[in-house]
Symmetry: C2
Subunit: 126 residues, 2 copies
């Protein structure tokens, strides 16, 4: 039985987020999400905040950022909620937004090409 402390084991986190155990551990190795604590035996124990962080990463993934960049963006967003006035932070965020917009554009083009190719294939099926 899991304690009602709200801490989850990696398997439960995986179920909740749709990420694989391996992926979650991989993110930790790369400094993206460290579990709040460990059990006596060494099991990773995640807080709701940890899970939220993982879910943000999951939402970022389609943008094609690298893990390193996602890490930067996560800490940037955290810093910004603490010091929203900081111009340097805002500038950095603007750059991320531009990159995201560019990526959205690229994704739209890919979708377009993919749709046309699928239509071509369909045309062959007469």
């Amino acid at each position: 039985m899991v304690a009602r402390t709200g801490l989850l084991q990696i398997g439960q986190v995986a179920e909740r987020t749709g990420l694989s155990l391996r992926t979650i551990r991989f993110y930790e190795e790369n400094g993206l999400v460290r579990p709040t604590s460990r059990s006596g035996g060494g099991f990773r124990l995640y807080s709701d905040d940890d899970v939220a962080r993982l879910e943000v990463i999951k939402r970022m993934k389609p943008l094609g950022f690298r893990l390193e960049e996602m890490q930067e963006l996560l800490t940037l967003l955290a810093d910004l909620t603490e010091r929203p006035e900081d111009a340097a932070l805002t500038d950095r965020l603007r750059m991320f937004h531009e990159a995201a917009a560019a990526r959205v554009h690229a994704l739209r083009e890919q979708l377009d090409i993919a749709e046309r190719f699928a239509a071509d294939l369909a045309g062959r099926l007469d």
Copy 2:
């Protein structure tokens, strides 16, 4: 000066297709596109058909097929133009089309998530 035989060196093909030299060579290593011939010194010489083949591959890429699958699809399409009656070929093509449609769907979802995330970022820039 390049001979007017219509044969292109790899660099010219790269320029024409937007693929990198490395990528073109890699495709050859994996049996996707073999240059029609070689110069005396061993330079790859590509015909227009070769280039067309590369361009088909480029259009397939957003669908996320693996190189092996692209190769199969390319030969399948070639076989189909020769024997359009063959039911086995048509079936195989139908499977490719289904996979393509699924991938298009997935791409659309990714685009959706990406757009929402970009909008979130924009919202932070007030």
